[in-house]
C-alpha cells in the first residue's frame, strides 16, 4: 500500500505526464516518419489455427504402430487429396492407408495432404517433434508465436512478427500487419512503431480508407489536410516539445497519399485477387485466407510492410469433421506453394535484380498436433507434439530437423542443448530464426537456444 501522500502525488503527476508522452511517442504521430535505413528482408508468419494433424502432412504416418492409427480410406475424405495413393498393402480388410509422398530428390517424407508444396521440397525446412508441452489452444498459440507459455491468461512475451518488425521494420508504413495472428507487443524497450496492426481482414482495413464523393470533393479534403498540416507545423514551432505536432504534420501529409493511392488498392480484396490471380480464392476452406497471402506479396512489392502474419484454419477437428482435415491442409499448403511461386515471379522493391523470394522468410506454425489415435467420434483431439515449417533462403532446405517417436508421436530428444539432451521446442525455433538475421534472441526471449545446424 502507498501511504505517503506527497510521493503519491508526484507519481500521479508522473503518470499523467507519461500518458502524454506515450501519446506523443505512439505511431499515431510517428507512423509516417520519413524513410530510414531499413532492411531488404521480408517476413511472413502463418498460424495453422486449431492444431493440425501432422501425420497427414509434415510428419506422415501410414502404419498402425503403438498408439498410432493412421489416416485411411475409412476415416479421411481421401478423394479430395491429389497426392493420395493407397498404400501397397491393405491396413485392415479393404481399408488402406496412404503411400508416403516423396518427390525425386526430396529428403522430406510428406503425407498426402501436402498438395503442391511438395514441388518445393528443396526450400522447406521441417522441424518435427516440437515439445509444445500443452494441449490448450490459447497457450499453444501464444507459445508458438512468442516462445513463452501464457502466464495465467496473460501473454508474457513479444511475438516473432513484432520482434522482426521491431528489428527491421520500424520505418515501414506498416511494420507489422497481423490478420488474426496471435501477435503481441510486450515491453517498454520496443519501438512503438512496431506495434502490430491487428485486423480481422484486409478488407476491413480498406474500409477505413474509403471516402465518399457524394458530399465533398477530394479537393475539399485535400485543402483541409493542407491547412491542418500548416496548423501542426505552426504549433510545432511554438511548442517546447514539438515532436507530437511534427508527427501530426507528417501524418496529415501522408494520410492524403494513402487515400486514393496505391495503398488503398492494396487493401481492396477484389483488386488483390486481380493482382495475384494464381491463388485459389474459391477453395472451400482456405480460399477466404488467400487474399492475405496476396496482400503480403503486393505489400512487399511496394515495400510498405516488413512483416505480414495471418492465421488459416480451423484445423480443430475433434469429430466427424476430421474427414476434411486432409483437404484443409492441402488447401493451406497450396496457398503457400502459390505464395512461393508468386514471390519467385516478383522483383524485389529495393534490390535491383533480386527476386522477392530471395529475401522473404516464411514460418508456419500450429499450436500443437492431433492425437495419434482416432477418438470414438471419428476425430482426433489435442496432442502435445508439434511441427514447424520454415521456408527461408537462410535455412537449409530439403531438411527435416527433429523427430517424433514411432509409436507415440511424442517429441524425441534431438540434440545436446546447453541444458542437456532434449527435444527441440518452439522457443528454440524462434531463437534460431532470430539468430539467422543476427538478432540476439536474449533481447526478446527468456528461453530458446539457436540451432545453427538448421541454418545455411
Amino acid at each position: 500500500m502507498c501511504t505517503e501522500r506527497g510521493n503519491s502525488r508526484r507519481n500521479f503527476l508522473k503518470i499523467v505526464g507519461s500518458l502524454g508522452a506515450a501519446a506523443a511517442a505512439s505511431p499515431l504521430y510517428r507512423a509516417f516518419a520519413g524513410p530510414g535505413a531499413g532492411t531488404d528482408e521480408f517476413f511472413v508468419f502463418i498460424h495453422a489455427q486449431g492444431g493440425w494433424d501432422v501425420t497427414l502432412g509434415l510428419d506422415p504416418r501410414n502404419e498402425k504402430t503403438g498408439l498410432i492409427v493412421p489416416a485411411t480410406t475409412k476415416n479421411i475424405d481421401y478423394a479430395s487429396l491429389t497426392r493420395w495413393e493407397n498404400d501397397s498393402a491393405a491396413l485392415d480388410g479393404d481399408e488402406y492407408s496412404f503411400r508416403i509422398v516423396q518427390p525425386a530428390g526430396s529428403k522430406i517424407p510428406f503425407g498426402p495432404a501436402i498438395g503442391d508444396l511438395a514441388n518445393h521440397y528443396d526450400r522447406l525446412t521441417v522441424v518435427n517433434g516440437l515439445a509444445v508441452n500443452t494441449v490448450s489452444h490459447p497457450d499453444g498459440t501464444v507459445f508458438a508465436a512468442t516462445g513463452r507459455h501464457l502466464a495465467g491468461g496473460r501473454v508474457a512475451a513479444t511475438s516473432i512478427d513484432t520482434m522482426m518488425a521491431n528489428e527491421f521494420g520500424a520505418e515501414q508504413l506498416f511494420p507489422a500487419v497481423s490478420i488474426r495472428y496471435p501477435s503481441s507487443f510486450v515491453g517498454q524497450t520496443l519501438d512503438r512503431r512496431a506495434m502490430p496492426l491487428l485486423v480481422d481482414s484486409i478488407g476491413s482495413m480498406g474500409k477505413s480508407l474509403v471516402r465518399s464523393t457524394r458530399y465533398e470533393l477530394p479537393e475539399d479534403r485535400a485543402a483541409v489536410t493542407s491547412m491542418l498540416t500548416d496548423e501542426a507545423n505552426d504549433l510545432a514551432a511554438r511548442a517546447a516539445d514539438p515532436s507530437a505536432w511534427k508527427g501530426f504534420g507528417l501524418q496529415f501529409a501522408s494520410l492524403q497519399k494513402m487515400i486514393g493511392g496505391p495503398v488503398q488498392a492494396l487493401l481492396d480484396t477484389n483488386k488483390l485477387k486481380l493482382a495475384q490471380p494464381s491463388f485459389d480464392y474459391a477453395a472451400q476452406y482456405m480460399g477466404q485466407f488467400a487474399p492475405n497471402a496476396a496482400f503480403a506479396i503486393e505489400a512487399m512489392k511496394q515495400n510498405l510492410v516488413r512483416s505480414v502474419a495471418f492465421a488459416m484454419g480451423s484445423f480443430d477437428t475433434h469429430g466427424a469433421d476430421y474427414t476434411d482435415q486432409g483437404q484443409k491442409q492441402q488447401e493451406m499448403f497450396n496457398v503457400i506453394a502459390r505464395l512461393i511461386e508468386a514471390l519467385d515471379a516478383t522483383p524485389h522493391p529495393t534490390k535491383t535484380g533480386s527476386k522477392l523470394s530471395e529475401h522473404t522468410h516464411i514460418v508456419v506454425v500450429s499450436e500443437f498436433c492431433r492425437t495419434p489415435q482416432v477418438n470414438l467420434g471419428g476425430g482426433r483431439d489435442h496432442y502435445p507434439n508439434g511441427t514447424s515449417l520454415i521456408i527461408s533462403p537462410r535455412f537449409k532446405g530439403n531438411t527435416v530437423f527433429g523427430a517424433s517417436d514411432t509409436e507415440q508421436l511424442l517429441p524425441k530428444a534431438t540434440r545436446a542443448f546447453t541444458d542437456g539432451d532434449r527435444s527441440i521446442g518452439p522457443p528454440d525455433v524462434l531463437a534460431t530464426f532470430l539468430s539467422a538475421f543476427g538478432v540476439d534472441p536474449r533481447k526478446y526471449m527468456r528461453d530458446g537456444e539457436p540451432v545453427p545446424e538448421m541454418l545455411k
Partner: protein, 244 residues
C-alpha cells in the same frame, strides 16, 4: 471540451493509481527518517532455494495510450451525446456511403473483437487514424444535414447558429466559427496560437467557390453546406482535438 478531456485523462491515471499497481515507493520518502524495523531489500536470487527458479521478467506496467473508448466517447459527446447505436445510425444515414457498422471497424479503432478473438490494440496506428477520420467526416456531414437544414429556432447540436441570408461577411463567419471552435477545441478561436480564423475562413470561402463552380453537379451539399462541412472536418481532425 478541453477540460473534459483533461478530466478523463486524470481520471484514467487516478484509477490506475487507485489500483495500487503504480506509484508506490516502498522504500519510503527520502525525507523521512529510516525505519529501524524495515527489512532490507534482497535480490530474489539471493534467497535460499530461489537462485535456480525462473523469474517472470515480463513487463507489468507502464505508460499506455488511453483506450479507444475515450476517443469514441469524445466523438459521441461532440455530436450530441448519442449512444453508439444512434451514432452508427446517424453516420450511416439512408445512403450508407459515409459509414457502415461499428463492427466493421472494431479492430481498426483498436477495440477488442471477442467474436473473432482479436485483442485490444494498445497503441494507435495509421489505420486507426484513418478510421477516426472517416468517423469524424461522417458525423460532420450528418450534422450539416441535420443542423443547417433545420428550421430557424429549432435545436441544433453542432452548428448551433443560424446561417446568414447571404454569404457571411468575415465578421459573421468569425462569430459562427467561434461557436464551433469552442465546441470542438474548448476555447475561443481568438485565443488560438495560430492564424486559425483566417485559415478556416479561407477553407470556407475556397470550398464554397469550388461548389459554386460545380453548379449543383455531383455534391449533395449546397455550396454553403459544403463550406461549413469543410470547417467541421478541419476541427474534428485538428491536432489539438487529439492531444487535449
Amino acid at each position: 471540451m478541453k477540460r473534459n478531456f483533461l478530466a478523463i485523462l486524470l481520471t484514467a491515471a487516478g484509477l490506475t493509481l487507485g489500483s495500487g499497481q503504480i506509484g508506490c515507493n516502498h522504500g519510503g520518502d527520502s525525507s523521512s527518517p529510516p525505519d529501524p524495523n524495515a527489512i532490507p531489500s534482497v535480490p530474489v536470487g539471493a534467497l535460499p532455494g530461489h537462485d535456480s527458479l525462473a523469474q517472470d521478467d515480463s513487463h507489468k506496467e507502464g505508460p499506455r495510450l488511453l483506450p479507444a473508448e475515450v476517443y469514441i466517447r469524445m466523438y459521441l459527446d461532440l455530436f450530441g451525446g448519442l449512444s453508439p447505436l444512434d451514432a452508427e445510425a446517424a453516420a450511416r444515414g439512408t445512403d450508407g456511403t459515409l459509414f457502415d457498422h461499428w463492427s466493421d471497424y472494431l479492430a481498426s479503432l483498436g477495440l477488442p473483437d471477442y467474436e473473432k478473438d482479436i485483442a485490444r490494440v494498445g497503441q494507435t496506428n495509421a489505420i486507426m487514424v484513418a478510421t477516426f477520420e472517416r468517423l469524424g467526416l461522417a458525423l460532420c456531414d450528418r450534422a450539416v444535414e441535420r443542423d443547417l437544414r433545420a428550421k430557424t429556432g429549432s435545436k441544433k447540436v453542432v452548428f448551433a447558429f443560424d446561417l446568414t441570408p447571404a454569404e457571411p461577411t468575415d465578421k459573421e463567419f468569425a462569430d459562427r466559427f467561434d461557436v464551433l471552435h469552442r465546441t470542438f477545441l474548448g476555447y475561443p478561436a481568438v485565443m488560438a496560437e495560430t492564424p486559425r480564423i483566417s485559415r478556416f475562413l479561407k477553407i470556407y470561402r475556397d470550398t464554397v467557390a469550388r461548389h459554386v463552380a460545380l453548379k449543383g453537379g455531383t455534391s449533395s451539399f449546397t455550396p454553403t453546406e459544403a463550406g461549413w462541412a469543410a470547417v467541421c472536418h478541419g476541427l474534428v481532425r485538428h491536432p489539438e482535438l487529439h492531444t487535449y
